[in-house]
Amino acid sequence: MIDQSIIALLLLVNLRMFATSRVDSLVRCVAAQAFLLVCLAVVTHEGSLSWEAWTFLSVTGLVKCAALPALMTRALRSAGIRREVEPLVGYRVSLFIGLAATGFSVWAAEKLPMPAGAADPLVVAVALISMITGIFLIVARRKAISQAIGYLAMENGIYVLAPALAVHGPLIVETGVLLDVFVGVFIMGVIILHIRQEFRHIDIDRLSELKD
């Protein structure tokens, strides 16, 4: 029942990311998404967690719910970015694309053969939805920062996909992946600041000097 409520909340957060018009709410959503996904990983874990797993989960939680959103908010403030996300696809259409993505994810999760020990297919589905949300934000929103948020949302989804499918990588690899994501988003933030200084805007569709 707890896991089902977390899944439901995650669905709502993801759909909100499809429909929201504000960059700051997008940042809050991605933090909430990460928090819920960490909770889901804890709840769906079979048996008791070892202390390494606890440490890793809490570090992940800190990085993904606190550090990275704080970084984004800082980039948002210091670059003086306007709050509207400036969609390429309208909010209503986005919302229904979100619904279609939800349907597809559930279908795919039900269709694929699940290994023994895998979690509820809905957990897999919700991981897929989070990934699709991220990809959608990257494709359909104009601002560089919303693309960075999309990348983060995608990573969040991937992060929960592995435990949902009963895949447990070695701790050092997982830590490396987390480090990569952290550094990646950090560099993205730095580049956004540089772009802002150079162009006075961060609209991606106006980054169009280079083309054939």
Partner: protein, 486 residues
Amino acid sequence: MMLRILFLAPFAAGLASLGISSPRVRRRLITIVSFFHLACTLIVWRTGFEPSAGRWIGLDALSMLFLLITSVLFASSSFATVAYLRGHELPVESRGRFSREAVFTCAMLFFLGTTTLAILSLHTGVFWMAIEATTLASAPLISYQRSSRSLEATWKYLLICSVGIAIALVGNTALAVSVAFDPATYGLPMTFRDLAERAVSLNPVWLKVAFALILVGYGTKMGLAPMHTWLPDAHSEAPSPVSALLSGALLNCAFLGILRTNAILVRAGIGGYSNGLLAAFGALSMLLAGWFVLRQADFKRLLAYSSIEHMGILAIAAGAGASFGGLLHALNHSLTKGALFLLAGTILGAYHTKSTRAVSGLIRISPATGLLWIAGFLAICGVPPFGTFVSEFSVMAVLGRGGRWWLLAAFLSALGIVFVGMWRIVIPMAFGRPSDPAVCVPRSRPIEAADVPPLALCCMVLLFGIWLPSPIARLIEHASAIAGGL
């Protein structure tokens, strides 16, 4: 032990470079580390290699080959990097520790370290981690000039590649799931080698899902069409020595991941699926690159599209089972493309433009550069005395013997289009009337220090066309056995 030194030394040097305040010492560090890396690589090659099963970091023939390519390229481009940094002095106030140049040096050394780690890693997770780290390490290299164009290129590179590699991570997860169905493979360490050995008992549905995701993911990084869009921008806007490394070393690394995964599928008996996908992506890349080469007006972008075309050749070779030709081609292409990008840097320094129309009469202004430029393009088009001809021909021979006529037709027509497109541009560049002497002063000396590394690389390619030294031939044979899943 030696392997650890290979990738840890650049990391340590990179960290150290942040603490050095003198630009001269810092620049020298790049050269020293690159040659140290090359020396270590050669020692490792001599002492032999055989990774034990279950190891995460190890060296087999395949990684040895790619390590060799990377190391040679880093060593030969290190002079150009130093020259580039010297030629683009920053204002005094931004020269100290943690200055832009220090970050560049650090990122360059980290790039060497992560590339080496990617090549040496036999574990799917470690490989992923290293590949993503190469993206992160090379992003500051591309944005070094901080111009609007280079920032745009960096953003595209960072975002598209990160997303692509994230997709590959999903592929890794799928690969790990495919293990969990059979008790014989349950809990198998996720190394490429172990997976290939037990491939038959893996779940084929998940293997297919995994391969498609990994191909799209690492294919983005490798520059396969239609995920190639970052590549021309990044290659044209990065400093030329960096472009040489991106094209010659980085793209290969991503290809390595695809090759190793393909080997697993071949061993599992569903090689038809993965080979088909590889060939399709390869043919698309070649044809698309041909189209863009035809209408190109920027010589660094021209080289970038040529890289896409050659990545297409590698993919087709892997898909057609022509592993030997493909790996030989990877070697030849990297050396040639490295030489060409270094030359492009020299030309850019002399003419201050990347436009193909503004550059002409190269051979009068700087004979050595001009001649090498022509030689490089002959090589990249696969003209006979060069090694690229041998490798391309052996791929075509396999295609013909296999009766894959459609693929062969696409292959040949793409090569033809690229040939025409390139020479339409290169001949005026080399032989046209010299540009305004006020813009561009003819060189007094026939050959400059900057021409030596490209000359060496071109000579190697020429050598491989005439006579393939037996250690290299043996290395490639072993490597192709691994890549072919034998």
